[in-house]
Amino acid sequence: MTVKLVYLAWVRERIGVAEELRDIPVNVTTVAQLMAWLADQGPGYAQAFAEPTVIRTAIDRAHVAPDALIADAREIAFFPPVTGG
């Protein structure tokens, strides 16, 4: 499955990429599994996903929980807890 991945705020800074298209292995089915898999993709990824419980995720621009399934996702975004307002 090819998915557009979006990284924001310090997640983006650590990875050094704002967005990318990635082929996700078929055995990666949840958000939590995807974060674990991404943490192995290089030093920046390892640093960004070092504490996965801190990272928030949106699938197709809506918030999801770590156990959400990524099947059918077109765009998955990872970001720190929001701090607007």
């Binding site: 979006v6 924001l8 705020a9 310090w10 949106a58 621009r61 809506a62 918030h63 975004a77 970001f79 720190p80 807890p81 929001v82 701090t83 607007g84 307002g85």
Partner: protein, 151 residues
């Protein structure tokens, strides 16, 4: 009902006038304005840069606004959030809730802010006078405030 994400400043008086002009069914208008404070954790802030997730931001703000209209009888509402680089004293966010009665307007404005703070994809980075940047940490109290509405 409207949401706007913009780099420009806003004029609160003009925004209220645009919402309420020629309407006589509104009795109560509550606004919340958030501004950049000059210090954070006792250190002076030089600038604050606001980043967001284009595309999701507008969707999420609209969801929050719809939720407020489902809970309270609102005649009008507005959310404006600025992005880009701001300075101490600058406006960041404006929320307006208008209703026939004041309790609905007060509660809806507080609700909009509580969920904007915890759901809308914005991130603040503070830069001090030496150019050192620091991402602002999320506050536990904001999560608590939002969760209280769901009890």
């Amino acid at each position: 009902m409207a949401v706007r994400v913009q780099t420009e400043d806003f004029d609160i008086g003009r925004e209220i006038a645009a919402l309420t002009n020629d309407r006589t069914d509104i009795g109560a208008i509550v606004t919340f304005t958030g501004t950049v404070r000059g210090t954070a954790q006792d250190a002076a802030i030089s600038t604050m840069t606001l980043e967001h997730y284009p595309g999701m931001t507008e969707d999420e703000l609209s969801r929050i606004e719809n939720d407020a209209h489902a809970r309270w009888p609102l005649q009008a509402s507005l959310i404006i959030h600025r992005i880009g680089t701001l300075h101490a004293g600058d406006n960041i966010v404006l929320v307006v809730a208008a209703s026939a009665h004041r309790q609905a307007a007060f509660e809806a404005a507080a609700f909009l802010m509580d969920f904007l703070k915890t759901r809308a994809p914005f991130w603040k980075k503070e830069t001090d006078a030496d150019g050192n940047g620091r991402w602002v940490d999320a506050r536990e109290t904001d999560e608590t405030a939002a969760a209280a509405w769901l009890r």
